[in-house]
């Protein structure tokens, strides 16, 4: 493997080999698309149990030009970086094999997101490889960027958690919001790709079209990540709406002290002005005045914005991402760029479309 380059917006000549476990899935497909277009990666393997020896383009029509066929996840090739885009529970079982095959493992599931085993006991069904939890770094660069260089086990954030954390972090940093603040309501709206490729009856087109469907009224597991990384518990409710890509979090915050618009602009500019993938969209004219998922669909961008409710001292924060990009595959590649010392935005430059329907 080649030397690490500095992450300074320049370019790098390094090339890393990569494999994607779970290549027929939705986020696996996104990883393949991003890595195939990335100047510093060469994809050598994509696995599937159900489509061994079938072309990648048969499943992902946008990758028809990729000369690659799926192989069995039991026959992992030796690579620099292994990306796992498998359902919860798979990576924690296979993590030793993954590290036998690769120097760096990037996992998109929840398996290494929480800081310790207690979290898995409380929110999931426990953890079978808790010894890896200390080695894992949470992938979200805007939150954990300083710890990513050199990371060997990267744990991609949950998409709804990512939207929420990006929206609230500037308020936490500024002390507007803290564990004592009072109720923080986070009302999330998500697209159908969040459910992955293997949807059931509720995901069929006739049943899933046109919905505003409460699908996680309370008790959503992403609360655990938000609490772990922002240090506050939120009242969290998730609705399915009629789009394919996108997660939009509306956070209702009641600060103890009144804040001004200028305070808010200061907090958000302070947090994100230097971040290459963050945009503050908050008021103004035209059709697109606040964050909305279709404005970032297909991209690694996150939009955040806010509004003040003078009457009752509420801050409403809006945050919008593409769940398949900033909310998973894009975030993973972004974090890997930082881990390997590659230019931060490499392979992630696509800026989205206008007009666009429900991408």
């Amino acid at each position: 493997m080649s030397d690490n380059a500095k992450a300074d917006g320049g370019t790098s000549d390094d090339t890393y080999t990569a494999s994607v476990v779970g290549g027929t899935g939705f986020t696996g497909g996104e990883l393949l698309r991003l890595l195939a277009g990335h100047p510093n990666f060469e994809v050598v393997q994509a696995t599937s149990r159900s489509n061994v020896n079938k072309t990648v383009g048969r499943t992902h029509p946008n990758l028809r030009d990729l000369d690659l066929r799926f192989s069995d996840p039991d026959d992992l090739e030796s690579v620099d970086v292994l990306f796992a885009a498998t359902p919860h529970g798979v990576s924690m079982e296979a993590i030793d094999e993954f590290f036998e095959a690769a120097d760096t493992v990037v996992d998109l599931s929840a398996d290494f997101r929480l800081p310790d085993a207690a979290g898995y006991d409380e929110w999931y069904d426990g953890h079978v490889s808790p010894e890896y939890l200390d080695r894992a770094e949470y992938a979200l660069p805007e939150l954990n960027g300083e710890n990513l260089p050199g990371a060997e086990l990267i744990a991609g954030g949950g998409c709804n958690a990512t939207a929420t954390i990006l929206g609230l972090k500037p308020l936490v940093d500024e002390g507007v919001l803290g564990p004592e603040t009072g109720e923080v309501v986070v009302d999330v709206k998500v697209g159908s790709s969040e459910g992955g490729a293997g949807g059931g009856a509720a995901s069929s087109h006739p049943e899933r079209s046109g919905v505003v469907r409460p699908y996680a009224p309370t008790g959503h597991r992403h609360e655990a990540e938000i609490e772990a990384y922002l240090g506050l518990s939120v009242s969290f409710t998730v609705h399915a709406v009629d789009m394919v890509r996108g997660a939009s979090a509306t956070c209702h915050v009641f600060p103890e002290e009144p804040v001004s618009k200028r305070d808010l602009w200061g907090a958000y500019r302070g947090a994100y002005a230097e971040e290459p993938f963050m945009r503050i969209v908050s008021g103004g004219g035209g059709v697109y005045r606040y964050p909305e998922p279709k404005a970032v669909a297909g991209t690694n961008y996150g939009e955040v914005g806010f509004e003040l409710d003078p009457g009752n001292r509420r801050i409403v924060v809006f945050s919008a991402i593409d769940n398949m990009m900033k909310g998973s595959a894009g975030q993973a590649v972004h974090a890997t760029n930082l881990a390997l010392g590659l230019p931060e935005t490499a392979g992630l430059e696509f800026g989205g479309l206008h007009p666009v329907g429900s991408p």
């Binding site: 969040e194 459910g195 992955g196 949807g199 059931g200 509720a202 996680a216």
Partner: protein, 62 residues
């Protein structure tokens, strides 16, 4: 409609209201409450005892 003469009477475990079940339900069967729609498990038949069935998370995905 359903043969009400044969119907079984039970107490809805969530609301406490009296509800009617089909005569042919069996122990272990999951049936939805006519009041709340909740999935109820038939625990016993004589007397009819119902319990809330655990929700099937998988149906809903993420």
């Amino acid at each position: 409609m359903t043969n009400d003469t044969d119907a079984l009477i039970a107490e809805d475990p969530i609301t406490g209201e009296e509800i009617e079940l089909p005569a042919d339900v069996e122990v272990g069967e999951i049936i939805d409450s006519p009041v709340t729609g909740a999935e109820l498990e038939v625990i016993s038949l004589d007397p009819v005892v119902l319990e809330e069935a655990p929700e099937l998370e998988e149906d809903w995905g993420e």
